[in-house]
């Protein structure tokens, strides 16, 4: 089948499925799924840049998504001036000392001298530096975390509009990816996978435990929004006029108290839909920008070079391509896209909760999206993200429904029945694994395989 036709059919089926959810469940549920599909699609594009273009097996997606989340929180939260006053100066000194120690170690590593002298000097610098840093860092952290711990207890952020944080999330992820890439990209593919898996766990551990920065597991809730609040909408006369106009059909023929009651209900529902639509519009804009850039990049000479490196590193290097630099570049770009998506996700949630980041949901699920959709194909990754997120969400009601049928004949208090009904939600892991294995086995290119030059 013609590839564009396949894509069209794929997205067509997806649209029908979403419309079905809207019609049979509710439009609110449908929009909630749709918004997360959009975010997942951006994340999947980031993974596709790394795996599909360059063959880098990065299983640290969770860490970069969480970095985006931190960015959203830090950008939008107002700074806590009392905390800064309590521990800010000590913390800044600790930061400066850290930079100094790193610079000293860096200089020392370039120094040519007796090996053992160098090792001893290095040990002194690093250990001495560590003790020195702790001298300033520990009291700073104690002071900051003691400042109104129930409500704040952290430094706060910059207090900028949260929409900027999406770019900041990309930058955060890019910086960390650069550092990681410098160290880990020389490793073989499966070692790189293990290394990135470890790094993402460490990033999450830092976010959970450095309360002065992120409030840790106490979470930061009530982040500001880039879109209006439902309650404000429900009180705005202009919005009520819109609702009256939009639902004119439902309201026609109703009079007096019934009409105002109906209008009230429609306004509540409409406000929720409107907010989700606003988010959806913003996310769709980001997705389209990223997608267009990705398509252009893949078709450009740069894209050809990157694919050539992926297919045969040795011959690409022989052609004078700098394999290491391109890998680093791709790693940073892909991670930045994931960071943007992570910031969008935290914006949508309205809270930053480091405890909820789990590798199965934030790393491996995104991988399933890319593999099922078609690695190396941008549109495929987007389609994969839609399908997999849809299945991930709908697996639970579907599992419950199936279990309901399967256990219908059992008695009410039967432990097996209760157990089966309780466990239905875990079916989604099983389903994901089976989908991934089946696609890998029988259609290794995914639903929309990579398009190569006509041979």
């Amino acid at each position: 089948m013609n590839p564009s036709m396949r894509a069209l059919i794929g997205f067509g089926i997806m649209a029908v499925l979403l419309a079905g959810v809207g019609h049979y469940q509710s439009w609110n549920v449908m929009l909630a799924i749709f918004n997360l599909c959009l975010i997942s699609a951006v994340m999947a594009l980031g993974v596709n840049i790394q795996w599909g273009y360059a063959g880098l097996f990065n299983v640290g997606i969770m860490g970069f998504a969480a970095l985006g989340g931190v960015a959203a929180m830090l950008t939008s939260r107002a700074p806590v001036s009392t905390a800064w006053a309590a521990g800010g100066s000590n913390l800044l000194i600790a930061g400066a000392v850290t930079l100094g120690v790193i610079a000293a170690a860096w200089q020392l590593s370039k120094w040519r001298g007796r090996a053992w002298v160098k090792t001893v000097a290095m040990l002194i610098v690093v250990l001495g530096g560590y003790v020195l840093i702790r001298q300033f860092y520990d009291p700073a952290v104690l002071a900051i975390e003691a400042d109104n711990p129930a409500k704040s207890g952290f430094l706060g952020g910059l207090g900028l509009p949260i929409i900027f944080s999406w770019a900041v999330g990309g930058v955060f992820a890019a910086i960390i990816a650069w550092l990681i890439g410098k160290v880990a990209l020389g490793l073989r593919s499966d070692y790189l996978a293990i290394a990135t898996l470890g790094i993402s766990e460490i990033l999450i551990a830092v976010m959970k435990n450095e309360d002065w920065l992120t409030r840790g597991v106490k979470n930061v809730t009530g982040l500001q929004r880039p879109v209006p609040y439902e309650l404000n909408l429900q009180e705005s006369p202009r919005f009520i006029e819109w609702v009256e106009w939009f639902y004119a059909g439902s309201l026609a023929g109703l009079e007096g108290a019934t009409r105002s009651q109906m209008l009230r209900e429609l306004t509540v529902e409409g406000s929720s839909l409107f907010v989700k639509l606003c988010y959806g519009g913003l996310f769709l804009a980001v997705l389209l920008i990223v997608l267009i850039l990705c398509v252009l990049a893949l078709a450009s000479p740069w894209g050809r070079m990157v694919r050539a490196i992926r297919d045969n590193e040795v011959s690409a290097a022989a052609m004078g391509k700098n394999v290491t630099r391109r890998h680093l570049q791709i790693f940073v770009l892909g991670s930045a896209v994931v960071g943007i998506a992570g910031a969008m996700l935290t914006t949508l949630d309205g809270q930053f909760t480091p405890g909820t980041y789990q590798p199965l949901r934030y790393t491996f699920l995104i991988w399933v999206m890319v593999i099922v959709g078609g690695s190396g194909n941008n549109l495929g990754s987007v389609l994969g993200a839609f399908i997999i997120w849809f299945v991930w969400i709908e697996a639970e009601p579907a599992g419950n429904w199936l279990m309901g049928i399967a256990t219908a004949s059992m008695e009410e208090g039967d432990w097996l029945r209760r157990h089966l009904l309780d466990s239905a939600q875990h079916m989604r892991f099983l389903i994901m694994g089976v989908i991934m294995l089946v696609v890998m086995r029988f259609s290794p290119g995914g639903i929309l395989p990579e398009r190569t030059a006509r041979s």
């Binding site: 063959g55 073989r188 593919s189 499966d190 290394a195 470890g198 399933v368 989604r428 892991f429 290794p444």
Partner: protein, 337 residues
């Protein structure tokens, strides 16, 4: 002198014994990873969930045995249920090999595709475990809990510090030693074991000399599944069983296998202890320990903890990266395929 003994007891109680136990558990897990890596040549991401699966079957069998009143007190009942867990896990592993991995071997897919397939298997196993036993903590330790109790030790020696040895800790170390001895006997002395090593060293040459690849692969899966199950059960007896924790054990196990030298069984054991002792030693608070050793005036004020306990993953990871950068073949010379 008495202070020195106190410090020593403290160290043994909080660093030496936990490190030894955790190291044995990691070593058993890492042995499975390293065997699979040596023979099938891929990093098995589903190994943590294989451990969880085997432990789950063992727990279910334990509950059933407890229900029927069977007991081998003072030993935990789980030991009796262990063979059932090992058998079930081996069958499951062989089934995944037949359904998933064999295809990629036949088409000679690059190792990274096998790794990705193992991610798929990981999802499936994770789903099954969560579906059957749920995502929560399960404790299945019974029988005698302690071999040496802290209070009894204090009374017997007159020291300030107590030394407690849990029976699960003793069991772990003994089991690990027996298993490792058996494994090395098998690899070095039996025909099948020798053919496995030959296969790992040079696949083509091994095939030419008439070694059946199917047999080697089957035995490898059974060994890996058995070791994973036992490691998982011992870990569960020592701490507790939780599917997510087992998934997270993947990283220290990988670290142990790579640090020791991938494909090298002795290396996996060495690596297990290196990782375990670093984790325990770096996250231990040395305040009390140093207070015993130095004159009263110099007693430290802080906890003297290098890293908070929450960063123990960071430890295994940092060791991993340092070894990969400085000595990519691992401490003992392993394979770099």
């Amino acid at each position: 002198m008495i202070d020195f003994l106190n410090a020593l007891t403290l160290f043994a109680n909080f660093v030496l014994i936990p490190g030894l136990t955790y190291g044995s558990q990691l070593a058993l897990g890492a042995l499975g990873i390293t065997l699979l890596y040596g023979i099938l040549r891929f990093a098995n991401f589903a190994h943590g969930d294989t451990m969880a699966f085997g432990t789950m079957v063992t727990i279910l069998a334990t509950w059933w045995l407890q229900g029927t009143g069977v007991s081998i007190a003072p030993l935990p009942t789980a030991l009796l249920a262990l063979p059932i867990g090992v058998a079930a896990t081996a069958i499951f592993a062989l089934a995944t090999d037949r359904l998933v991995y064999r295809h990629y071997r036949e088409v000679k897919a690059p190792p990274i595709r096998l790794v990705m397939a193992s991610v798929g298997v990981m999802f499936v196993m994770n789903g099954i475990v969560r579906f059957i036993i749920g995502p929560n903590d399960q404790s299945f330790m019974d029988g005698e809990r302690f071999i040496v109790k802290a209070r009894a030790f204090k009374n017997a020696t007159g020291l300030n510090e107590g030394l407690a040895i849990k029976s699960s800790q003793m069991l772990t170390v003994v089991m690990a030693m027996v298993l490792v001895a058996l494994l090395f006997w098998f690899l070095n002395r039996t025909r099948t074991g020798k053919s496995m090593r030959a296969f790992s060293d040079n696949e083509d040459l091994a095939l030419l000399s008439g070694i059946s690849p199917q047999k080697v692969v089957t035995v490898t899966w059974i060994l890996a599944a058995g070791l994973a199950t036992i490691a998982g059960v011992l870990y569960g007896l020592d701490k507790s069983f939780k599917p997510f924790t087992y998934f997270q054990l993947l990283l220290p196990m990988f670290a142990a296998a790579i640090v020791g030298g991938v494909g090298h069984p002795v290396g996996a054991i060495l690596g297990g202890f290196v990782v375990a002792f670093s984790e325990v030693a770096v996250t231990y608070a040395y305040k009390k320990f140093i207070t015993y050793l130095v004159p009263v005036d110099y007693a430290p004020e802080g906890l003297m903890q290098l890293l908070s306990t929450d960063y123990k993953f960071a430890v295994s990871f940092i060791i991993l990266v340092v070894v990969l950068l400085v000595r990519p073949t691992g401490l003992l010379k392993g394979k770099v395929i």
